[in-house]
């Protein structure tokens, strides 16, 4: 119990600042400093959120479905790529620079191309999310694999361990921390990736909803959906953190020791 207290006091300034910001925003709107149709007040946004709750929920489900499929495939692909690249050094040297290069191409730039190639269905959206999530996971794993202690590898070799056993007992568990750091970034990217690809065409999802309310100049709904998207991203990141805690119970022990 006593451990919880410092974390709350640590977050207190941020909470107060956040509340102050919302208050200020409400004040600006209530005093009519900015025309109401351009900047809805927090109360307006909340109201819009409530009225649109069913629509938002339905669209959020579509976006989440795309995000999850894309993230799952991206992570799977990342695992395969990182493992293969780590065990075949030539492949690592050949592919790694290309991977980094592909990351300089912005998502927004390839999304229209994907729509032209694959239409308005699920495929272009999944592909875009896979492309964006695959990279942080692969790089995280590769760095983790490379950081394996050569002495620990030697210890296992001295016990007669083969390549696969060294991977399973040393490299993979040693890379978990970096893997989860990569996954956290990927989780944040995947929702944004889904929304961007929905902007360019689709039959549902928060991105489609967004373009619709934009055309109607419904600023309050616009704000509502923006907040929803960041909430979903935050939620996914929290989920990754939870998974990390469950998969790496020894970290909690280390944290306690440091306090």
């Amino acid at each position: 119990m006593t451990k919880k207290l410092p974390s709350i006091t640590n977050k207190l300034p941020a909470l107060i600042a956040g509340a102050g910001f919302v208050l200020l925003w409400q004040l600006v709107c209530s005093l009519g400093l900015v025309p109401a149709y351009m900047l809805p007040s927090p109360a307006d946004v909340l109201r819009a959120f409530w009225f649109e709750r069913v629509l938002l929920w339905e669209n959020a489900l579509i976006t989440l479905k795309e995000a999850f499929i894309g993230l799952g495939l991206g992570v799977l692909l990342g695992l395969v790529f990182a493992t293969v690249m780590d065990s075949v050094p030539v492949l690592r040297r050949a592919i790694y620079p290309i991977l980094v290069l592909t990351q300089t191409v912005p998502t927004v730039a390839i999304a229209p191309l994907l729509v032209l190639w694959f239409g308005y269905g699920l495929t272009p959206k999944i592909i875009l999310i896979v492309i964006t999530t695959f990279f942080p996971v692969t790089v995280g794993l590769l760095d983790g694999f490379a950081a394996a202690d050569p002495d620990a590898v030697n210890l296992l070799r001295s016990m007669g361990a083969g390549k696969w056993q060294i991977f399973r007992y040393i490299k993979f568990p040693g890379a978990l921390s970096q893997f989860f750091s990569g996954l956290r970034i990927a989780a944040a990217y995947c929702v944004v990736g889904a929304v961007i690809s929905e902007w360019l065409g689709g039959f549902g999802g928060l991105g489609v909803y967004m373009t619709r309310v934009k055309k109607a100049f419904a600023f309050d709904k616009m704000f509502a959906v923006i907040f929803l998207i960041s909430a979903v991203s935050l939620g996914l990141m929290a989920l990754v953190d939870l998974a990390r805690r469950l998969c790496m119970p020894w970290q909690r022990v280390h944290e306690n020791k440091e306090q």
Binding site: D151, S158, M159, G160, Y169, I170, P173, W250, H254, K257
Partner: protein, 244 residues
């Protein structure tokens, strides 16, 4: 013939000779110490005996079989304890059994009775960071022991410990050796430790390293607590210091 025979092993790194025609025999149940200055090639010799490195020339025979350059035959505790931080103590020590394909539950059963003998009872489910230095070392020793009881190589197993813990560990290890017949080859910089623990001391010196002298310590083990103050101990120490 000894259980472990090193015959004419030489090794150089990047053209720099480190070991020169090393001959070494370890007999069944014997505790032999390799004493030498830092950087003299002691760990390199262990890496060769364990099969992690292949010598430029020479052979390593275990029970008469050539195991040169083949890892997986002798127990080797490297210079660091190398307990894996993400595995509990029990999952660390059973690692050699898991690698041999023994199911976890069975491996845990095998290890269970030894936790007490190694003074580790109650630490099974802890993580290595939760252990003291002496306990970590004992856990690493238990893992080494579980791999094979035939030949054990220990690279400075006690050097990272403070003096008090160290002498407690010495007493404890001699006691273990007494109850569990293993043949041990171990490395140290510490002359006192060498005399206290071993049946025989091999001095590795010079560049490239050679075994220049072998000194036997003809006192029965386990040795009494005041052995360090005895005439025999002091005579031995004097002899070694004059040779170093």
């Amino acid at each position: 013939m000894g259980i472990l025979e090193v015959r004419g092993v030489s090794k150089s790194f990047d053209g720099r000779p480190i070991l020169d025609r090393i001959d070494l025999t370890l007999n069944q149940g014997e505790l032999v110490c390799l004493l030498g200055v830092s950087g003299g090639g002691k760990s390199t010799l262990f890496n060769i005996i364990s099969g992690l490195l292949t010598p430029d020339s020479g052979q390593v025979l275990l029970d008469g079989h050539d195991v040169t350059g083949c890892p997986g035959h002798v127990s080797y505790m490297l210079q660091k304890d190398l307990l894996l931080p993400y595995r509990t103590v029990q999952d660390n020590v059973i690692l050699p059994l898991l690698l041999q394909g023994i199911p976890r539950s069975e491996a845990l059963k095998t290890a269970h009775s030894l936790f007490d003998a190694f003074g580790l009872d109650g630490t099974q489910r802890l993580y290595p960071t939760q252990l003291s230095g002496g306990m970590r070392q004992r856990a690493a020793l238990l893992r080494t022991y579980l791999f094979s009881r035939k030949v054990v190589l220990l690279d400075e197993p006690f050097s990272a410990l403070d003096a008090l813990t160290k002498s407690a560990m010495h007493r404890w290890y001699l006691d273990v050796m007494d109850r569990m017949p293993v043949s041990t080859l171990f490395i140290t910089h510490d002359v006192d430790e060498a005399i206290l623990l071993s049946d025989r001391i091999c001095l590795l010196s010079g560049t490239p390293g050679r075994i220049t002298h072998q000194i036997s310590v003809p006192y029965p083990r386990p040795r009494p607590d005041d052995f360090k103050l005895s005439q025999g101990f002091l005579a031995c120490k004097k002899q070694i210091l004059s040779l170093l």
